[in-house]
């Protein structure tokens, strides 16, 4: 399916125009000012002790005020993933490591969100996203029978702000094209040891027992608060155990504020 002509694309266009047009009238405390960020992320996935896949991609977002306590966001991302296929160790003469086949997929995501926020208390929000994954190997998405899969996801989230910590909960329902739904919940606790550093612990999945994640975000002051570095480690403990290691870099346009302020008043 061509995403350029998809209903999701048209929906996002309409929502974007609506939300972005509305924010000009807003005098909001949910988002101090419209702000943009652009990021790069790369990561490896490990399954059963061996590298399973590697991913790199770019992402960007804009967050903007709409009404008092009401903000909106639009985001997009592209990622390319090389999926190894867990071939056995290849010591035979006829199979060389160079012959190990790889499967790669490209992923595009668009998302829009609305949220109510009081920077002194917390926020609640809803979101809608659409994604498209296309494979570039001899592989098929089971629900579509093709090399392409589109997804829709609906999310609700809430966060409570303590002085130097945040407790957040999010619930997501992802609808696979021609397939079933995936539901998940994530509980996240964040702590700011300084105003430009954040440590995050999260538990997600069924009963919060399936996926655990540790994230570290650092926004160096000597770079004028224009960049932040992200390191995240995620362990998934399900029938298939997997670990994800991600590093990322984000660049912030114009709004040079410290990290805790950015999290609670800008994005």
């Amino acid at each position: 399916m061509n995403a350029k002509n998809s209903p999701a694309k048209r929906f996002f266009l309409a929502v974007s125009l609506l939300l972005y047009g509305a924010h000009a009238l807003a005098d909001s405390s949910a988002v101090q000012a419209t702000n943009f960020q652009l990021g790069f992320a790369s990561g490896d996935t490990y399954v059963s002790g061996s590298r399973d896949s590697n991913t790199y991609g770019i992402n960007g977002s804009v967050t903007f005020p709409l009404l008092a306590y009401l903000g909106g966001s639009l985001s997009g991302a592209y990622a390319h993933t090389n999926l190894a296929a867990n071939f056995p160790s290849e010591t035979g003469t006829s199979t060389s490591a160079s012959a190990r086949p790889l499967c790669s997929v490209d992923r595009d995501d668009l998302a829009a969100g609305l949220f109510v926020r009081d920077p002194t208390i917390g926020r609640v929000g809803i979101g809608y996203g659409a994604g498209r994954t296309q494979s570039h190997c001899d592989a098929t998405f089971l629900s579509t029978g093709t090399d392409t899969l589109e997804t829709r996801n609906y999310a609700a989230d809430a966060a409570y702000y303590f002085s130097k910590a945040t407790l957040a909960i999010a619930r997501t329902r992802t609808r696979l094209e021609a397939g079933g739904d995936l539901n998940s919940s994530t509980l996240t606790a964040s702590w700011y040891p300084t105003n430009n550093a954040r440590a995050t612990l999260s538990a997600g999945g069924l009963d919060f027992k399936n996926t655990y994640s540790l994230g570290l975000d650092y926004q160096p002051e000597f770079l004028d608060n224009s960049l932040s570095l992200l390191f995240a480690y995620t362990a998934r403990q399900q029938a298939i155990e997997a670990r994800f290691l991600t590093i990322g870099l984000s660049y912030y346009f114009d709004k040079r504020v410290d990290l805790i302020t950015r999290d609670r008043q800008y994005r």
Binding site: F87, R171, L206
Partner: protein
């Protein structure tokens, strides 16, 4: 105001609590991908066999997977295709062509992986368990040819065995029928050189013993042992239907069937069979006939016409497969051929005048022309081959050319053409070689060794020449003496010329345009000219 703020805090915490209380369906159910078998094997009788049929596997994909990949590698597998029905995949495994692989044990691997969503938005995938299918493909070696395929009774000799896979599995023995080779050497994956003891008249299947081979080893090669002929000197006349004979294109001796094959007048093949006495010839017409030769295994007579090559039954002269010439430039024609022990015939082309034209290979068992990368363009080239088919020499040019042209050779072992260190312009006498290509006579006068080092000369009055199979003698038909002369090629040349050690007058004057042939034992010479054919015991 403080009350309002507190109320907000309570509401926010309540919202967090409500959300956290909602169940989720991420699922940690134990499930996996399974497959009907993890081992697939293919086998073919030989590299020459047809491709085995595909095999079908069934995989049941992890029900939580959203994405399934069926990937493969390894030489054994040509392709893997699959179709999905629900969470069941039918996987079709096509093996590679035996001809493309050759002999050996080949492996391949197929991996079936189901991928699950790795995060709530399914923006990442994580692989489930992989099902590995190990593919093993076994192809035993094959013996295709033995050359020369005719041997002489009660005479120990050597032969070149050609095939494929001789170095893939250890060859522990070579047999001719029930008789073991006295010695053998595996020269390459496609060649064995073996010696056989004195054998009785019979046809002996040539086999190799390689116990580690995964299956029976196919042999298509037979060594035919014949009695040394005891032909008396005589002449054979041409039938009235072809008289007068204006040109002899080729003269071949079919030792297996005791028959002489003569190509005359650019359109007739004459076959004189011997059964206690030489009989009247049978004939076959081939338009624009330019050359004839027996195939490596003697099963076909290759009749080369200017625009096609016809396989003819060497006993009945019944025409078989006709293979048209490759696309040739205007005025270019198929000219001559010589047969190598790899089953190919080297086919040269000619042009009415002086021009370089292409050289081709013709595969006798799968009739088709091909043009190897090393095949040279040559000027009206004429080939001459050794009886063991190991080497074919190609002379070119004409005495009218001002500068000498390079002599090429085709080595059957490597199936490549290369230029030799010899340059000359050919005359009407085709290159002559002994059985193992250790002595090479060019232009009927210049004698070289296997390395194309000049050794000495034969008389310039030579009209035709053959080299005794054991390379000890060169027999010429001499214009000055009108006799068959014998020269000792083992002696040191005196004044550059090999010494003459014998002479004999043929039973009758063969006439002009003489072609010569020799029996495998070296005891009988055949001379065909425009007058008649002379059968002549070789002089000492």
């Amino acid at each position: 105001m403080r009350f309002v703020t507190s109320a907000r805090r309570v509401s926010a915490l309540l919202f967090v609590a409500v959300l956290s209380a909602c169940g989720s369906g991420d699922g940690s159910q134990q499930s996996s991908t399974s497959i009907s078998t993890n081992d697939v094997s293919f086998s073919a009788a030989s590299p020459d066999a047809s491709t085995p049929p595909a095999q079908i596997l069934t995989a049941t994909i992890d029900p939580e997977a959203i994405y399934v990949a069926v990937l493969h590698n390894g030489a054994a597998i040509a392709s893997v295709t699959y179709s999905l029905s629900g969470d069941t995949a039918q996987i079709v495994v096509d093996p590679a062509s035996p001809g493309g692989l050759g002999a050996g044990v080949f492996t391949g691997t197929i991996t079936v992986v189901g991928y699950r969503c790795a995060d709530p938005a399914c923006s990442r995938l994580v692989s489930g368990n992989s099902q590995i299918v190990n593919v093993v493909y076994q192809i035993p070696p094959v013996v295709r040819f033995v050359a020369p395929y005719v041997g002489v009774a009660a005479t120990a000799d050597t032969a070149v065995i050609r095939g494929q896979g001789f170095q893939k599995f250890t060859v522990e023995g070579v047999t001719f029928g029930a008789t073991a080779a006295t010695t053998f050497t595996v020269v390459s994956d496609t060649e064995i050189r073996a010696s056989y003891p004195a054998l009785a008249v019979e046809t002996y299947p040539v086999r190799i013993q390689a116990p580690s081979s995964p299956g029976a080893i196919t042999s298509l090669a037979n060594l035919v042992i014949v009695a040394a002929p005891a032909y008396v000197a005589t002449t054979l006349v041409y039938p009235a239907a072809v008289s007068p004979v204006s040109q002899i294109q080729a003269l071949r001796y079919d030792a297996e069937r005791q028959a002489l094959l003569v190509a005359v007048n650019g359109g007739q093949i004459l076959r004189y069979a011997y059964a206690g006495a030489w009989g009247a010839p049978t004939t076959a017409a081939v338009g624009s006939l330019s050359d004839i030769a027996l195939s490596t295994d003697g099963q076909q007579l290759l009749a080369l016409a200017q625009t096609a090559l016809t396989q003819i039954d060497p006993a009945t002269l019944a025409a078989g497969t006709v293979t048209p010439a490759p696309a040739l430039a205007a005025d270019v024609f198929l000219k001559n051929l010589a047969v190598a022990n790899d089953g190919n015939a080297v086919v040269t082309t000619g042009y009415n005048g002086s021009s370089n034209t292409q050289t081709y290979l013709y595969a006798t068992r799968s009739p088709a022309f091909s043009q190897p990368a090393t095949a040279p363009s040559m000027d009206n080239s004429t080939p001459g081959g050794s009886a063991d088919g190991s080497s074919i020499v190609l002379a070119q040019g004409s005495p009218a050319l001002a500068s000498a042209t390079g002599v090429y050779r085709y080595l059957a072992a490597s199936q490549t053409f290369s230029v030799t260190g010899v340059s000359l312009n050919q005359n009407s006498i085709a290159p002559a070689l002994d059985r193992a290509a250790t002595r090479i006579v060019l232009n009927g006068t210049n004698v070289y060794d296997a390395g194309y080092n000049f050794l000495g000369t034969l008389p310039s009055t030579t009209l035709a020449v053959v080299v005794k199979p054991d390379a000890t003698r060169a027999y010429t038909f001499d214009s000055a003496a009108s006799q068959v002369l014998s020269f000792d090629l083992t002696a040191s040349p005196a004044g550059g010329a090999f010494p003459q050690v014998g002479a004999t007058a043929p039973a009758g004057d063969p006439g002009t345009g003489v072609r010569m042939a020799i029996s495998p034992d070296g005891g009988t010479l055949f001379l065909a000219g425009n007058n008649q054919i002379a059968v002549q015991p070789a002089p000492p």
